[in-house]
């Protein structure tokens, strides 16, 4: 990994902050969404089963946004990350 690589800020939704020491944002390296998420779960291993299935694929209901765009409409986990990009894991809507 290049030492000049910029870090991507990942916004963690409230239900998952129990697994990130209550951090609301976590900065990780990664040239793509997939790399950034892999680095996130490497740092917080308990997050892994919440985001990925047994085959290591992002679970179908996990909504990941880059620049306010759903990665399903970009290039999925191969979506490239540039300087200043932020990534959000958005919870589904619960209760009433």
């Amino acid at each position: 990994m290049s030492t000049t690589q910029t870090l991507t800020r990942i916004h963690i939704p409230t239900p998952l902050r129990a697994y990130t020491n209550h951090e609301a944002t976590v900065a990780v390296a990664g040239a793509t969404v997939g790399e950034a998420l892999a680095n996130l779960v490497a740092r917080y291993p308990e997050l892994k089963r919440h985001l990925f299935d047994d085959e290591g694929r992002l679970r179908s209901f996990v909504n990941v946004y880059v620049r306010d765009e759903d990665i399903r409409y970009l290039e999925g986990d191969r979506t490239p990350l540039g300087a200043g990009d932020e990534l959000s894991i958005v919870p589904s809507i619960a209760g009433g």
Partner: protein, 317 residues
């Protein structure tokens, strides 16, 4: 708490409701035949088709009951605006009933609510406030509390998560109907927890009729999930009306299982309903498979049409 059948009468209004609102409740109880295939003939699974309410969800009952309670108590008077936090369905019910009764409605909802949902609310004439998607409906609730605290005279705030009229709507409505429609034969009731109004109201009614009727609550298995409408209680703002002691057992459902069951309900039963209905039916089928004899009843919470833009209908995505 008084659980007498006489309570049924206290909910009726002195003035007749507009015709549309008289169609709230009295929903069909449908037997699942193909999804429940392979069960012994002594085990039946029924679903209460709440998506056939005029507003398309079970929430019509609670919204109407809370509005009527507000009108009776005088809390909703003098041109006040109804305000509440919602994940969508209660909001749609408020907006529909508000339109029919001439009550202005303002709703706070996370900004990632589906396009269909937002358009529906705006079409009924409700004012929408979109809150931070990262905080879910808990954030919408906090927003409404702050807004009402600043300007209390302007608003009627039913606060569906903490309003006894919410669960009582189901105690007086769906609970009684399920007993009638099964001829008192229901042995198991299975329902998911959102505001917890449906589960609480129906379970209290069934237990009052026969404490041996088993009532099983359903929650998503993980804090981050895709079962829209249901709460993972351990990590959510817990509704004031929630009574965990009411459930004989707490069941959990994986999002993937709820999605699969939702697709099967559409394709094999002709029931186009939402994901929380899929979660309920998945749990109900699991309960049914564990029985030698019994009548299992669950809830179809809302119509699938309001989720058509979601990707889960196509399992390859």
């Amino acid at each position: 708490m008084e659980l007498a059948h006489a309570d049924l009468q206290t909910i009726s209004l002195t003035e007749p409701l507009p015709g549309l609102l008289r169609r709230i409740g009295g929903t069909p109880l449908v037997r699942l035949t193909r999804l429940a295939g392979g069960l012994p003939e002594t085990v039946a699974v029924y679903a209460k088709a709440e998506h056939l309410n005029p507003g398309g969800s079970v929430k019509d009952r609670a919204a109407l009951a809370m509005i009527r309670a507000g009108l009776r108590s005088g809390a909703l008077a003098g041109g006040k605006t109804l305000i509440d936090a919602t994940s969508g369905n209660t909001g749609i019910a408020y907006a529909m009933i508000g339109a029919a009764l001439g009550i202005p409605v303002t709703l706070a909802m996370p900004a990632n609510a589906s396009e269909e949902r937002r358009k529906m609310l705006e079409t009924y004439g409700a004012e929408l406030i979109l809150t931070d998607p990262m905080e879910g409906t808990d954030g919408a609730q906090r927003f409404v509390r702050a807004r009402v605290a600043r300007d209390p005279d302007r608003y009627f705030y039913p606060d569906q998560y903490n309003n006894n009229a919410n669960w009582r709507a189901h105690f007086d409505g769906a609970g009684v109907e399920i007993l009638d429609q099964t001829g008192g034969g229901v042995t198991h009731f299975v329902a998911g927890l959102g505001t917890t109004g449906t589960f609480t109201g129906v379970a209290r009614r069934l237990k009052a009729f026969d404490p041996a009727i088993r009532c099983l609550s359903v929650q998503p298995d993980t804090p981050l999930h895709g079962i829209e409408g249901l709460k993972h209680m351990e990590t959510a703002l817990v509704p004031g009306i929630y009574d965990p002691a009411l459930a004989d057992a707490a069941l959990t459902v994986e999002t993937e299982e709820a999605y699969e069951t939702t697709r099967r309900l559409a394709r094999e039963e002709g029931l186009l309903v939402g994901v929380s209905s899929g979660a309920n039916v998945a749990a109900a089928l699991r309960v049914a498979r564990s029985l030698e004899a019994g009548v299992v009843v669950t809830i179809l919470c809302d119509a699938g049409t309001r989720y058509l833009s979601d990707s889960f209908w196509n399992p390859t995505r």
